[in-house]
Amino acid sequence: MTATAPTTTPRIGRTRRRARPSRLAAAFWFVVPFVLLLAIWAVTIAVTDTPLRTFPQVNDVVGAIGDMIASGDLARHLGASLARIGIGAAIALVTAIPFGVALGASPMLSAFFSPLLRFSVALAGIAWIPIATLWLGYGNGAVIFIVWNAMFFALTYNALLGVQQIPEQLLRAARSMGTGRIRIFWEVLLPGALPSIVTGLRIGLGYGWRGLVAAEIIATNAGLGYALFLAQSQFDTDVIVASMVIIGILWLLMDRLLLAPLERRTVERWGMKAVS
């Protein structure tokens, strides 16, 4: 053990040294545009002497975020928003993916539904808010419906496309090894469509997130969208921009911590490129 340690340690050290700077460099270049934006923002506000009522200075926003954390407002709004998008997204996943895969498996059904789905993707989410509040009233139900609706069509359409893009030979191979019609769903259609489903999830979550904020502005009394709405009615531009910043950061975190690892562990690991 002690004899092998010196020979293995430098090797590990070398790979670590090689991996670290690249990850650091990636993080650096990720942050640079934001730092630049902050600098331009700070300088512009200072030079033009813009009043807080029109647009806040950087430190006002930082202060507002601090206040939101201290008062517990941030936790309350964040919790409400995350719970709604979580539930809406979960319902969208379990409804849209089986539906899309089933449609994709039948050339006739997919030809029939494709134009309808593309039409619905354009309308999904925000445009449904009036109907959602009519049906479900002002509250969690309407917001979750909007998140689900915003995601559903993009997810379904991409699942359908994903199935259509599976090479015929893979289906033939599975069938010639005794895979029945039901089993082929799990064994070939679903994993084969996954690159496209991941793309759909990314697009859909983007729609869902926007739909969430818009619905919260109109339909509830908690959540990040509601925080925006409340601040607007009180002319708190610092709180408005603080909420916007938090919404943006949350989206980035969701993309980096949820979607990117999912993609790395599946599509990239299997050498299947995600379609975009």
């Binding site: 090479p167 030979q169 893979l170 033939r172 191979a173 599975a174 069938r175 010639s176 090894m177 005794g178 895979t179 089993r183 064994e187 070939v188 994993p191 084969g192 996954l194 599946t266 690991r269 299997w270 050498g271 299947m272």
Partner: protein
């Protein structure tokens, strides 16, 4: 024992773009014995892959019968394993996951199918690659896996659709040599589609030579080479050369005939 009988096979389809009716297979009959290696050879577009696809159950025939192991073929089934030109491996499964796929479909328990999978991987020279994914393998290794994935199921007949056509010449030679060795060891029944005359002669016990479209069986040529076969010894033998020449003249006679017609 006869493993596979093709009797008066006929395939006609309507071209989707021109609306023309096309006869892909005119009238094809031949049989393959158990433990025999039979190739089907013909000019491109003569419908040899169509014959294989009908045997596999992927497409429907217009007329005639295909019988494998005494049962008429109507749909794909595990009694007919297919090795594809495009390999058709599942990218989301590891090498071991791919090779044990058919056994899992049969309901074999995990320990037994993994043992069988490892055994057959060793046979095709893929030991140590169990946890890799197909995209991490070279083209030649992918097709070894394609062969292993079928072989492990012990099908009544192994259908191979130009399996080495997309592989570089040097690797192809090695794969042909290894396939021969594998065949001589395990004696599966093989039905092999190719447009490469030397490949067909080297690998096969008999070669079915098709005419151009609409295809009929021009002749069935016995290959008099002894087994075990070795590429270098085989190509230098007179029997190999005369068989190749005979098939070439069968095919070129066909080409001359097609040339006269046009």
């Amino acid at each position: 024992m006869t493993a596979m009988v093709i009797d008066n096979l006929h395939k006609r389809y309507v071209d989707r773009y021109t609306g023309e009716e096309i006869v892909a297979i005119g009238d094809v009959s031949f049989s393959v014995h158990e433990g025999e290696f039979v190739s089907i050879l013909g000019p491109s577009g003569c419908g040899k892959t169509t014959v294989l696809n009908i045997v596999a159950g992927f497409i429907e025939k217009t007329r005639g019968t295909v019988t494998v192991g005494g049962t008429e073929v109507t749909a794909p089934g595990p009694d007919r394993g297919v090795v594809f030109q495009s390999h058709a491996l599942f990218p989301w499964k590891t090498v071991l996951g791919n090779v044990t796929f058919g056994l899992r479909m049969k309901g074999m328990d995990k320990a037994r199918r993994e043992q069988a999978g490892r055994d057959v991987l060793e046979l095709v020279g893929l030991s140590g690659f169990e946890r890799k994914y197909p995209h991490e393998l070279s083209g030649g290794m992918q097709q070894r896996l394609g062969v292993a994935r079928v072989l492990v199921n012990e099908p009544a007949v192994m259908l191979m659709d130009e399996p080495f056509a997309s592989i570089d010449a040097q690797t192809r030679r090695k794969l042909q040599q290894d396939l021969t060795a594998l065949f001589e060891l395990r004696r599966p029944t093989v039905f092999f589609v190719t447009h490469d005359i030397e490949e067909a002669v080297f690998l096969s016990d008999r070669v079915v030579v098709l005419s151009g479209r609409p295809s009929t069986v021009r002749d069935i040529v016995e290959v008099p080479l002894p087994r075990p076969r070795n590429w270098h010894a085989a190509v230098e033998s007179t029997d190999f050369r005369t068989t190749v020449t005979r098939i070439e003249s069968l095919l070129s006679g066909e080409e001359a005939h097609v040339g006269d017609g046009s």
